[in-house]
């Protein structure tokens, strides 16, 4: 195994390195300097992210267990960026008394989970995929129960770990069946010939992955875990782990499971409808913003499936593009929620009444984020959604499209509820004016800028689409 081959794993190496460096640094920080690891971690990760963008050669190693190509690199970079944003937003929270001594742990857990993400995306063999998946999940379960003294946090952790263990068991069962029917776990070697055993295996496998994307009916953990976990972890869950799972799903379905197209198109057709509708119906009546965003993210997952179903280059491109947009929109929304939670300790919708009076900038950021999620022009979300719709229309599922657009209208309703709270409703005790720390502000403004320009800057989409065409 030559050095070039090892260099293919650049992202992973960088992450592992950053973990080690962080450990070493942490040893040198004195008690009162613990909080330095916040800045150092952020800087380290920023470097990692930048490294990701350097030109890299592509290929496969470990005898095909590990594959990398421009498309996968792009996916990793997107997720790296979002993780960076999450890190930038978590400073204020980590500085609080309870967490002060365990700051570094948070970063270690997160980064190791990111490593999992990277391996999962680059997997060329189901073993690698499985390792990545678990490496992605387990640390997050730990991070979810990070707030030692909050029973809700523990509850979230338990729900996450149990359900994910359960789901991965099911996934593995499916994998074993696939193995039995194909005789290999190498994506390159597996051959499918839609027999019932394979369908069985596929469905089990799909449900395991769907659990991560929180597709109905595998979504029920989402709301509770999102609500209970520390908000930063929630934003990570809602963006990174979901995004990673989506990427993998697209890659596997379009390349590996192409022979089963008939099967998975039907599966996705059904689940997509349920996912969108259920997500919206639950989101309508949420008061706790974290739960609210949880259900909105479920609904968004439903929209993402629309792009998957076509299984064409356009479909893949629209999905990846949408995830990119969704990353910015959702992180902006969470950013605001986090900021307010940290400053005022409030996460209920009615606490946001009259926010515009006291914190106009935050309110605007929130409004843009929500409008982008709702798909309102000229924000990026509009383009993302429209391309998804284009993808589904391309494959001719106009009924599904109709259901989707009607769901989009419902979603607009509850997104407007928050806007209404911030801009229209009166409140005698609005959240007082405050100024969050620099990293948060940088992160937020970054997201907002992203929301504003991505749509107009068409090369982004065009580039993604070329990569997808190449990958088919």
């Amino acid at each position: 195994m030559s050095l070039q081959e090892l260099l293919l794993l650049r992202h992973e190496w960088a992450l592992i390195a950053s973990v080690l460096i962080l450990l070493v640094l942490e040893l040198n920080f004195s008690e009162e300097k613990k909080s330095n690891s916040i800045s150092s971690a952020s800087i380290l990760f920023a470097i990692v992210t930048l490294l990701g963008f350097l030109p890299a050669e592509t290929g496969s190693t470990f005898g095909g267990m590990y594959v990398t190509d421009p498309l996968r690199i792009l996916m990793k970079n997107i997720l790296n960026i979002s993780v960076l944003v999450v890190f930038l937003q978590s400073g204020a929270w980590l500085r609080t008394k309870n967490n002060y001594n365990r700051i570094t742990e948070f970063y270690l857990l997160m980064i190791s989970s990111v490593i999992g993400v990277n391996f999962m995306i680059s997997a060329g063999h189901f073993l690698m995929f499985y390792l990545g998946l678990e490496l992605l999940t387990i640390p997050i379960a730990a991070a979810a129960s990070y707030d030692q003294y909050k029973s809700k946090s523990a509850e979230a952790g338990i729900k996450l770990i149990l359900t994910s263990a359960f789901s991965s068991a099911i996934l593995l069962f499916g994998l074993s069946l696939l193995y039995g029917s194909t005789g290999s776990m190498y994506f390159s070697e597996m051959e499918f010939s839609t027999n019932s055993l394979q369908i069985l295996g596929f469905v089990f496998f799909f449900s395991g992955l769907g659990f991560k994307i929180s597709i109905v009916p595998f979504h029920l953990w989402t709301a509770d875990v999102y609500e209970g976990s520390p908000t930063n972890v929630t934003s990570y869950l809602s963006v990174v782990s979901k995004g990673a799972a989506v990427f993998v799903l697209v890659l596997l379905l379009v390349n590996l499971f192409d022979p089963l197209r008939q099967v998975w198109q039907q599966v996705i057709y059904g689940t997509a409808i349920f996912t969108m509708t259920i997500g919206n119906l639950f989101a309508i009546r949420q008061q706790n913003l974290k739960r609210y965003l949880a259900f909105s993210s479920i609904a968004q997952a439903g929209f993402i499936l629309l792009g998957v179903i076509g299984g064409s280059a356009l479909g893949m491109a629209s999905v990846i593009y949408f995830v990119l947009v969704y990353v910015f929109s959702n992180l902006a929304a969470f950013g605001v929620v986090i900021a307010i939670e940290q400053s005022a300790g409030k996460i209920n919708m009615k606490d946001y009444n009259g926010l515009y009076k006291t914190n106009p900038r935050l309110s605007l950021a929130m409004m843009l984020a929500l409008f982008s999620l709702a798909g309102i022009p000229p924000l990026a979300g509009f383009f993302g959604k429209f391309f998804l719709f284009t993808a589904v229309a391309e494959s001719g599922y106009f009924v599904l499209l109709l259901i989707a657009v009607l769901n989009a209208v419902i979603s607009l309703y509850y997104y407007l509820l928050v806007v209404k709270a911030m801009f229209i409703n009166k409140s005698e005790f609005p959240v007082p004016y405050f100024q969050s720390d620099y990293p948060t502000r940088i992160a937020l403004s970054g997201c907002v800028i992203g929301i504003l320009i991505i749509g107009f800057y068409s090369p982004v989409f065009e580039y993604i689409k070329q990569l997808c065409l190449a990958s088919l």
């Binding site: 809700k152 952790g157 770990i161 039995g180």
Partner: protein, 105 residues
């Protein structure tokens, strides 16, 4: 020389095991036992892999390795899970799953 058990029987066993595990997960109220049920499910999967290697693809080791990794990871998972259970116990003085429903609707 005992004659070999046919694959179907083996698969029936594993499937049964798997769903026994599922059943346990759905019914037992104690978090630990639920965890154990998951382990049962995973072991069913392990058996699957091993059986497939043994019957269908003799000489291939993928299945065996896969099961090894599964065992390892299961251990890690269990460790984290237990840690969280303890954390929960600190907070609510119970590890009854039915009390873990503060967040709903």
């Amino acid at each position: 020389m005992v004659e070999q058990v046919p694959l179907n029987h083996a698969l029936i066993i594993t499937t049964l095991m798997f769903f026994i595990g599922v059943y346990g997960f759905l019914t037992r109220k104690n978090l630990i036992t639920m965890l154990i049920s998951v382990e049962i499910m995973l072991n069913a999967v392990n058996l699957n892999f091993v059986f497939f290697d043994h019957y269908l693809f003799p000489g291939k080791l993928e299945g065996h390795f896969f099961s090894l990794f599964i065992i390892a990871i299961a251990a890690a998972e269990a460790a984290v899970a237990i840690a969280i259970f303890i954390n929960l116990y600190r907070n609510i003085r119970s590890i009854d799953v039915e009390q873990v429903d503060k967040m709903k609707y």
